[in-house]
Every structure is written in structure tokens, then in C-alpha cells.
Amino acid sequence: MKHEIIVDVKRDHILNLLNSGKRIDGRAFDEYREVSVEVGINQRAEGSALVKLGRTQVMVGVKLSVGEPFPDMPDSGVLTTNAELIPLASPSFERGPPDEDTVELARVVDRAIRESRCIDLEKLCISEGELVWIVFIDLHPLDYDGNLFDACTLGAIAALKNAVFPKLEDGRVDYKTKTEEKLPIVDTPVEVTFAKIGGHILVDPCLEEEEVLDARLTVGYNEKGEIVAMQKGGSGTFTQEEILDIVRRGREKAEFLRKHLPGDADGKN
């Protein structure tokens, strides 16, 4: 009960500010928090990234192993996206098997990566029907201050672009010897999340906003600006107009986020 009342009070405070055109952390309604992306920060992972979105910090590791392909996709590598909401990162995260929120996070990030076909999975086939590369993306929030969807998608694509293959010998991986060959990444999808609070639409909700939002909409865009994934959240609703508006406005936010990805080795960005 205590918790409920505190949420109500917080909500009133945030809503009063919004009604006078202000967000609780001083940002404009369509403004992201400060974004930073560092890659190559983990020597054990084949690819890695540390993303900061304000005080939200997410580490993403990409590990590559080998195994059998799925029977119905014999010439295609395998992609697996996993999230862990470790209790180190927030008092609201609990130990134990993945809960609904953890699973949703992993699946929504996976959706943008999978549906944009950003990894050329056919290039991950080693021997058709027998041996393919398996790409593990591990989403690992370290400090949770809101909007994990956008931070994790950005971190995942940064870590994928950072990844190099380890050496393969006789069908086994030598993890201690890395090659210079990069993962075949052909697109850079990003996700953009908007929150609705009392009729106001805000991009990149911070934790305090997330705790009181009515509804949330995450939209994933590929490099062409096409939509590759969507996920509505929250127990409230959006009007149809709000949705159409968010989808249109999100595209430029996606461009903004994509600019924070580190450049390729060849200078392209």
C-alpha cells in the first residue's frame, strides 16, 4: 500500500510538471538523455559494448560458438538473444529464473535484430546441415534508470558490429585466438521508445517516468527507416492518432541514436 501511495504522489508531481511543459529531469519531451556507446570493453566476449543512456548502464556481450543448425534452416546460423535482470542493477530486480519483464526485453530486442535481417545468417553456415555459428547476444543491464529497450538494442547492435570470429579448428572453437574477420552485419536497427503520461508523449522515459506511465510504445527501425518491430506496453491505451504520430516521429529519433554507434574500421558510419 505504501508503494501505491508513493507512486500516486510521484505521478501527480510528474504530471504537474508535464502540464507546464517540463520533464522531471529537465529534458524536452522529444529529447533523449545523454547517449554514450563504448565497444570492445570485454576481452572474453567476441564482441562487446557498454551503453549509457543517462544513468542507465547496459553491458552487452556477443559470444560465438558452433553447433548444429535447425533442421528447417540447414544453411543458416543461429541467433539467440538473452537478457538477465541481475539484482545488482536495481532493487526491483529479483534473483531466479527469467520473469516476464526479462523475457519481454530479450524478445523485443531480438525482434529488431532478427526482423531487420541485420546479421547475414547464411554467411554463418560452416557445413550445411551439420555445423553453423551460433550467435549469443547477452543483454546485461548494470544500472537501471529506465528505457532498457532502447539501450539494449543499441548495445546489441554495437556489440555485433564489434564482434570478430574466434579461430575454428577441426570443428572446435579456439576462444583464445581471435581472427580479424568481422561478423557479417548488413543493417543497424535501433529501437525508440515513447511513454504516455496523462496524454503527454515523451521519448526515452527515465525510471521515474516509467514507474508512472500509462502506456509505452517501442518501435524498431532499420537503416532505411522502415519499421521492423513494435511493442506496446503498460496497462493504458493509445489513441490511433498517437500511434501514427509516434511511428512517424520515431524515425528521426532512430537516426539520432544510430549516430552514436562507433564507426566501422573502414571509416564508414
Partner: protein, 241 residues
């Protein structure tokens, strides 16, 4: 091209199962089909067979989940082992967990939960046979089961997907279209306000395609809504909704 992928999805203006692009699969809903549940609904929608049951408002276990300001709505989506071609192992998987969550969020806004503080309202959705679109079928059945249980609600919540197959925007994908198509966009709405309580998408759509598909899905929802109301009228009589 994947094994089993059709060369074309629309032939002579008809889809592979004979429908027009904006046509729903046949949909039948029956309310009040179970004895033990407080409310229930059975739905046949194309090749989908879905049962939904509502228990509650009832005592909540474990107790610490109770909310002194309102009832806690809990929704569980699950697939029978024999509902799909390759037997599904019993128990929740990651997909079911996500669908359970978005189903709850699709329904929460219409239920007057504040009338029943400290209780649980539990909704169980069982997919007995699946042919794509089971989350929309589940939400559709669930809101009828809630109504059948006498839970006060602002409105029913119909759900329906649109999508893109072979370059065409179509309504209510069936399994071949879902497996080999380019995009799927499930939507649930609160008809009286037109507001959207479920929205997911995977695939690839341009802005224009998205807008077209979104509007088509909402039209589909309105057709589903009529079937929901009919089912409740058949069960409870009267010609008004």
C-alpha cells in the same frame, strides 16, 4: 526461399485459403461453456480452437501479491501439447510468457479492478489448436470469459492482426501467411473509444504500409467485436448489446 514457401500469396485476387485481402477467417464464439469456471468462452477462428476461463474475483495466493486498492488481473496464455504440429512440451516457454504479459496489458484498461480490492481475477487461455493469430484469439476469448463471469468492464476487447504477404497488406493471417509473409501486426482495441490496448509488430513495413495495415487491423477488430457481442447475446438473451 524457405522450404514450403508458396510462390505467390494472392492469386486472382484471392488468398491461398480463398479469402479476400480484407476478409477475416470464419469466427465463432460461444460464451459459458465450462461448469467449474466463473466465466468461460470457446472460440473457433479459422483453424484456431481456443478456450478461455475466468476465475474471480477470488482470494489471492500468495497473499503478498494482493493490492489494497484494486483487484490484481492475472492472465495466463498456454498451448496444449497437441495444439501444434510438433508436440509442444508442457509448461510456459518464453513466447507464452510474453503473450501472457501483453494479454494482461491489453485487458487491464477495461476491467473495473478498483471494485474488488485485495482479490485476484485470473484469466486462463488455452490454445487447443493453433493456426496463427492465437494471441488475438486468446484476447478476444478472454474478454468474453470476463464478461461471462460478470466482471464489470468498460467494454469488450476484440483483437485482430493485419500483415503483409507477397507485398500485399492483408487482414488476419493464417499459418502459411504468418510463416512466410513479410510482417504481422496484432492489434487490440477498446471499441467504444477506439483506443489501442495491444500493438505488436514483427517484419518489415514502410510508414505507408504500416498505416494501411494498422487501419485494416482496426477494422478487423470491429468485426470481431460484433461476434463477441453476439456470443454474449446468445448466452444472456436480449437484442441490445
Amino acid at each position: 526461399m524457405k522450404a514450403g514457401e508458396p510462390e505467390e500469396f494472392i492469386i486472382d485476387g484471392k488468398r491461398l485459403d480463398g479469402r479476400r485481402v480484407d476478409e477475416l477467417r470464419p469466427l465463432k464464439i460461444e460464451a459459458g461453456v465450462l461448469k467449474r469456471a466463473d466465466g468461460s468462452a470457446y472460440l473457433e477462428w479459422g483453424g484456431n480452437r481456443v478456450l478461455a476461463a475466468c476465475y474471480g474475483p477470488r482470494e489471492i495466493h500468495p497473499r503478498h501479491e494482493a493490492n489494497p486498492q484494486r483487484a490484481v488481473l492475472r492472465t495466463y496464455y498456454s498451448m496444449a501439447p497437441f495444439s501444434v504440429y510438433e508436440r509442444k512440451r508442457p509448461g510456459p516457454d518464453r513466447r507464452s510468457m510474453e503473450i501472457s504479459k501483453v494479454t494482461r496489458q491489453a485487458l487491464e484498461s477495461v476491467v473495473f479492478t478498483h471494485l474488488y480490492p485485495m482479490t485476484a481475477i485470473d484469466v486462463y487461455i488455452e490454445i487447443l489448436q493453433a493456426q496463427a493469430g492465437t494471441r488475438c484469439a486468446g484476447i478476444t476469448a478472454a474478454s468474453v470469459a470476463l464478461a461471462d463471469a460478470g466482471i464489470p468492464m468498460k467494454d469488450l476487447v476484440p483483437a485482430c492482426a493485419a500483415g503483409k504477404v507477397g507485398g500485399h497488406i492483408v487482414l488476419d493471417l493464417f499459418d502459411i501467411e504468418d510463416n512466410y509473409g513479410e510482417a504481422d501486426l496484432p492489434v487490440a482495441i477498446v471499441p467504444r473509444t477506439g483506443e489501442v490496448s495491444l500493438l505488436q509488430m514483427d517484419g518489415n513495413l514502410t510508414q505507408e504500409e504500416f498505416e494501411q495495415a494498422f487501419k485494416l487491423a482496426i477494422k478487423g477488430c470491429m468485426q470481431v467485436y460484433e461476434k463477441q457481442k453476439e456470443a454474449l447475446r446468445r448466452r444472456y438473451g436480449g437484442s441490445q448489446e
